[in-house]
């Protein structure tokens, strides 16, 4: 019997070579399990906080990725247009500006961005919770979009040297259609999806890190209490810190272990959600790389 005829379980067959889907299922399953457990064992106010923090973090990260994609795609198109239009000076100026932004460490850039968000909150320019999430996502996207721009540029350059682009050009097809539809949509989707998944993980990490760092407050009037609660800021709360410290105690005193998942559930579940999500997103991105041989 040849290998392609070998019997294979339905599920195993479906997931064979699709580790991204497997880890996606594991992620959703893990989150649902955690939700069910805290639904049973965590008190209502703490449970509501964990749920809100998760939703804010995931939505914030997702919005940051969408904004980074739009910004990165647009930047790459602009660079390509300047390059093919032989506008050298404009291209150099834009590249310089982008490199200047690239030279700012992400965490420092985000801190500066948060100061601006804080100032806007103080001025009541960002009145609603949604607008504050959007603003922090925009700040995050500003320090992620260049990765999208780099990837889009690499894809355009790769295909610009191929014959199918020349063949379409001499058929009178507009360069805009060739780049957006033929190169990026038809030939680069797997690359962009993989990059988006990886950026989603990065955005979660950045949002949680920065919220944890600024947990001491950015001004006397505005603190994390004014900004929407996220997994990072929830982790910085005193209750959560004590819960995390309990993990350390469990290392030397095994009798504490059973209490971890009942008495210290807030901090443990927040830490689990962050770490487990980052692990799964990392595995999904790797799975996509393997599946599409990127």
């Amino acid at each position: 019997m040849s290998p392609e005829q070998a019997p294979r379980g339905r599920i195993t067959g479906l997931l064979s070579g699709r580790r991204d889907i497997l880890w996606g299922i594991l992620w959703v399953g893990g989150i649902l399990l955690c939700r069910a457990w805290i639904g049973l064992k965590l008190n209502a106010p703490a449970r509501a906080m964990v749920v809100d923090a998760s939703i804010h973090t995931l939505w914030g990260a997702l919005l940051a990725v969408v904004l980074a994609l739009l910004l990165g795609w647009g930047t790459a198109l602009l660079l390509h247009a300047l390059e093919s239009g032989r506008r050298r000076t404009a291209r150099i100026l834009l590249s310089f500006a982008l490199n200047l932004l690239r030279s700012v460490p992400q965490i420092v850039g985000l801190l500066i961005g948060y100061v601006i968000v804080t100032a806007l909150t103080l001025n009541e320019a960002l009145a609603s919770e949604a607008s504050r999430i959007a603003a922090t996502s925009a700040v995050t996207a500003l320090f992620l979009f260049q990765e999208v721009a780099d990837r889009v540029t690499a894809r355009i350059r790769h295909y610009a040297a191929t014959e199918f682009v020349d063949a379409l050009l001499v058929c009178g097809v507009s360069p805009r259609v060739i780049v957006n539809r033929e190169i990026l949509l038809k030939n680069s989707m797997a690359y962009l999806v993989q990059k988006s998944v990886a950026l989603f993980g990065r955005a979660i990490f950045l949002i949680c890190s920065i919220d944890f760092i600024v947990s001491v407050g950015l001004s006397t009037e505005v603190s994390l209490a004014n900004l929407p609660v996220t997994l990072g800021s929830l982790l910085a709360k005193l209750d959560s810190k004590q819960d995390i410290l309990a993990i350390g105690t469990a290392l030397t005193d095994a009798s504490v272990i059973p209490t971890l998942f009942v008495e210290h559930l807030q901090g443990i579940s927040v830490a689990f959600l962050i770490v487990y999500t980052l692990l799964c997103v990392y595995r999904i991105a790797n799975g996509l790389t393997e599946r599409y041989r990127l």
């Binding site: 040849s2 392609e4 014959e163 020349d166 063949a167 001499v170 058929c171 030939n187």
Partner: protein
Amino acid sequence: MSRTRYDIRIAASGRVLVDTHGFPLETGAVTFLFGESGIGKSLIGKALYGILDPAEFTAEVNGEPYALYRDSPAAAAARSAGFFVFQEPSTHLNPLATLGQQLGEGTLRRAADPLAAAAELFPGGSQGSLPRLLPVYPGPHRPSGGEKQRLLVSMAFTRMDIALAAGESARGLYVFDEPTGSLDREARDRFLDRLFARFRLRHETILLVTHDYGMIAYVRSRHRDMESRFRFLELTLSGGSARTREFDPGRFLSWLAAQRHEPAETARPPLLRVESGISVYGKILAFSRPGGGRAAPALEVHPGELVYMKAGSGVGKTTVAKIVIGLEQASRFRIEIEGVRLGEVSPRRYWRRRLWGRTMTMAFQHADEALNPKASVAATLRILSRPSLRGRDALRASLGRLFDADELDALIDKKVWQLSGGQKQRLNLLRALALETPLVILDEPLSALDFESIDRVLGLLREVRARGRAILLISHNEDIFDRLVSPASIYLLSSSEPPAS
């Protein structure tokens, strides 16, 4: 001579690529395997020779796992006493060793003169252009495809010479996979002459994979005495997998004899005029006429005319076409399109705004590279935004010019990467012709096609011409186009070094 029949089944990623029953391979005979590209000819050659990659393919030969066939004493002996010439010379040659080193490495080290066979294939022999190639490390652009191909087949010839000198019995299998794809007719004929000269001395088993049906005419006229040892097969696509059938060479020859010159249309002013003396990549390219006549005439293409530009491989036919279409920049050139004079200082945007898709277009040589593999067949044509291609019926009508009616429904929604090489080539041509521009440049329009498709394409070109459109052809299918194109519309391209100033 003894004939062995093989049932060969090759699959990859769960998809059956070849499923041929009773493939006949005769020992001590030359088997010509014709057929369009991309349907499994090379895979059959590799399977029979025993070099199919087990990591990539799952195969069975005569109902048994491929490893059993590959490791059988008979297959191993045929392999060790034979040679495989790969289709793509670049994949066969080692970029880290000079060509001279590679001509005499491995089993070829036993040759008395490893360069002798190569010298037979290059004009001027060992005093001609061959010596300057020997110290070269093969790269993508140097030496040319034709030069690489000649060096590769010379290795197979050297292997034959070694066996002959050693007085070994003929037991080798020699597979030549598209050995003339990059050769002009003269070089191709020289290759065939040298191959059959050796074959006359020792009847090795030879499998010659090709889609150059023109070989039949040459073989019939120059090597008729060997006919009893020639087998002609054709691989065709049927129900999604490849099947082998006998090919009647007489069918091709009578078809070729029936081809008549298309009349030259020179009454109206030329649509395109290309002056001789194009300076590009340090070479000067000039035109001449087959019968001699005026030195360095300009190439002219009139409305409704079929013009054929030919040259040896690597001279620069495609380069000239790309200069005319505005994709390649030359140091000096003069062309006139619809009365507008253009040259090296003309802005590129003129081609983009005024000419591409309006006055002229081009079908590229390699359909594999000229089409977007991820686009569907429908999307490949719809992107042209022609009213005549709107709707499924219009697409069917357009595709029906080169495809069978019963395959259209399945074809329209297929992605380009799922098509065979021949199907891609037909789609490539249809896309260029669907624009109905006054001038279309076709670079190797018959490459990768089987006999039936060649006939259809030529019919379509006649139709296009009859509607007053002009065609500039580049092809090494001289057997066919020399019969089809009026001598008044044939131009020879040659290159020379610029005079020292």
